[in-house]
Symmetry: D2
Subunit: 292 residues, 4 copies
């Protein structure tokens, strides 16, 4: 299977590297220098255009939002032959994915959404989780490619379902992170409480989460906030989750509030900082600092 | 060390059982039949009154709220000798605990708050987590007793700190549970998404928490909602956490919203049901049902 | 000026009646019996189709949502001559209106949005408020028609601006109504407070609003909740306001929360009841009843 | 009737002036210079102490919060004779007022809470609104005094009811103001909308309130934010309203959210600025400015 990979960002670059070790892989990136570096490091081929990328058996995209994915459509269709499979690993919008899939189907191109979780560490280690929206049969075809870079591959439904589950996963991350921030800020502002000890016991108790077990001790208490997943992108995903919930007719007051708070946080502490730096904003609301 | 245990509820009954295997233990319960059963099952002694309970070296209480704890004060003081240690394992109110400790100190009685986490399963297995507020020296004295029933014992600060951390832990539980409920409801209402698969992949991703890993698959997707920790008590703990945050001068919009939603949920689905049954209320807001 | 009026609902029926007294007016309604009644009562002409309606100088629409307006486009375009003015009095969606206007402009048809406020009482009395989005020149042409039924006619911007301001107005109504409900419920649940007296003094104080001055005493304290403006439509308008705010990049936590609460209320107390019946839902959250 | 007035702030100073024109009035203020100025301007007598103030027939207090009122208790009781009436015009806490009244009753002193609305303009014009908590008979005795400075005097219930209604009134002000801020910010951020025209038509429509009719045009659109009623005090009143609602067992999500947002706003734009300057905070959340 011949693979093209578009989007060599923090997740895409290492993922394409794992794939290139097992499949003939061409890469394309808006900033061409990254593609050159990838070819040098991972033995992939640099592709000349999106159109050329579309000539593969499998086209993989991993871009900031569905807007950038949808913008590729005309050029992909100009190069694609019937039978092309397009797997989008962007943390995208389920509605956009369904629209893209419908348009592609008219040209005999099949689409699945396969967003990634696991962070840059998981991507580098080849141990990502992938939530797949698309037919079982299509997943069977791309599974060997995914197996080069992922340890958990789960089909959650038809096209769009992967993006839906990813958006909800990231909204849960956003909510859990915000709540942990408010909680630690309240303990810090109360005074006389050992935050590391508090976190240790919470992590042995019912309130624990990936946020309290990993993000807070590694990124917040260290005050390092290493920028691997941008606050602006998490805010965008929270927006997709809220849209999904509203489109399904749900009343979801917590999602609605949290989405607006991340909008505010993004504005105040910046879209480019690590998502855990939302705690800096929570600290301002609380008038304190979360330090161990 | 001679121990008295007051409050043989879902957590207290098994905890006192573990202690009785290693220490001479008297038990007292408002409903006396439970004390009789405990003595028969665990070899503890049935105490005749709170006053008699206060004559031990260590008095342990585990009651629904700090109100019930504070109500014991006069009778405890009537029976206590100077040197008594009172360890309160209730999920209590830090402000009440500081008030109780100050009053007891006037009579030479020392107090620590040591709320429990781990659920009834943890209590039965003797593998609870305990968050302790009180002096290191006092904790050193009671640690052998706690070691009979807990696998994690952490001092988080002075009197009240244990209750503060417990309240925040339970608020995180409340928020994470609510968010998971909204998320699964949105996926269910969207349709075409396999909720068990979605949960599996979330549990391999950044949005995972104790809620998604344990509570949702074991209690919600099974539709069993086994009543081990009452919704009304979780709502009460959320209120303590909000009070704590406000008293410390923090603005905590998420805690404020979630506390009010649990109040509403308690009213609509009942205070006595399991806390996970809050999902039934979230389903009403969403107009759907979370079934696998 | 020859006028066609489509949509003889609670606002449209009386509005078209005022217009018919001064202009030659044809009417069309999905339920034809209403058009017949209007012709009999107000001397308007019954039109045979939307296409026929489009042959007038001025086409006025007043429908539940922009969806119904947009659905008329093909038939209107099939009948319209260049020069037609289409004034949409629906409480519509600014984005839809801009899309409609752009499509119409290709065919030489000009569009303005002119949503109405004042309720059915204002419509019957010919004393509505109209917030107009569209060019000054176009408003000048339709002003004589609006003057037959409105006492306040204000141009707030270009196409879509009328709908934007209407959505914000209705969101303010939604928020103010919800807040008044929570406030009166808190006073009722506290007990010993004379709600009519409280309302009287609030209406002489800084917390007063159209809600406390008119809606609460006339519709809520009487427990009549007369159905003139449906809860479902107010919830829809709140959604438009939230969309507007989010599309403009704003973080608006209060709008976000209130929109979700109206979704929940609509589900629980019904979309067809009067919007003031949202207080019935607030009473459930509060566990009390707002009675004088 | 001999009157003592304690607390010559923005409301108290002019109120005591009106009273002094009709009753023998002594004044006391922590900053004595204000009392001297009042005596010079309004012909009142300067009192030497709180104890001396307590020797009158009627003691009136008008202080920032109930904390300052409660702190006067020992000194008032040291000077008061049985039969003294104490009328507290502070925007106080109903629970504190009931506690004060109970303590005073033991000494034959009667208490009523009579918070004021109308702003400094209303206080200067002698046209305030007063919401009274206390017996009808007691109100009858003080009514002649209130009539010198108020145009609306309403008994809303027993002791504490005045403060309860005032807190709710001010919470409605807080909510309506926040909502108007979010609404105007959304329109401003959308662009192309004439905010003065929008406000004009909203004020002829269902979304109007004291906020949109008076505060926004006079204080916000002018960008003057004249400091007559401090943001910190409105935040405090919102807290009292939330406490009242929670103590009565209500779930009040909107109050809960708004209270936390005012806490945050107070921290960011200052407690001393005019309450309408909360719009400066809303503008930051929205990334825009509300200018006409």
């Amino acid at each position: 299977m011949n693979v093209s990979y578009i989007g060599l960002g923090a997740m895409g670059y290492p993922m394409a590297g794992h794939i290139a070790r097992h499949f003939s892989t061409g890469v394309w990136n808006r900033t061409a220098a990254k593609a050159d570096a990838h070819a040098a490091e991972h033995g992939s081929r640099v592709l000349g255009s999106v159109r050329e990328a579309a000539e593969a058996d499998l086209l993989i995209t991993c871009l900031p939002t569905s807007l950038e994915v949808e913008a590729l459509l005309p050029e992909v269709l100009s190069g694609a032959r019937a039978g092309l499979i397009w797997m989008d690993c962007t943390s995208g919008d389920p509605v956009a994915s369904q629209r893209i899939a419908a348009k592609l189907a008219e040209h005999g191109v099949r689409f699945l959404d396969a967003p990634l979780s696991g962070g840059t560490a998981g991507a580098q280690a080849g141990r990502m989780s992938v939530m797949v929206g698309g037919s079982e049969e299509l997943l069977a075809q791309v599974r060997p490619v995914l197996q080069t870079c992922a340890s958990t591959i789960v089909r959650v439904g038809d096209v769009g379902a992967g993006h839906a589950v990813k958006a909800i996963n990231n909204m849960l991350l956003a909510v859990n992170l915000w709540a942990a921030g408010e909680g630690l800020a309240a303990l810090a502002a109360t005074g006389g409480i050992d935050l590391r000890a508090a976190l240790e016991v919470i992590n042995a108790s019912s309130g624990r989460s990936n946020v309290t077990e990993n993000l807070i001790p590694q990124r917040v208490l260290t005050r390092e906030f290493p920028a691997t997943f941008a606050l602006g992108l998490l805010a965008k995903d929270a927006g997709i989750a809220l849209d999904l919930s509203r489109a399904a007719g749900c009343a979801s007051p917590a999602f609605a509030l949290i989405e607006s708070l991340y909008r505010a946080a993004k504005r105040e502490v910046g879209a480019e900082v690590d998502h855990t730096a939302v705690v800096r904003y929570i600290e301002r609301l609380a008038g304190t600092e979360v330090r161990a």
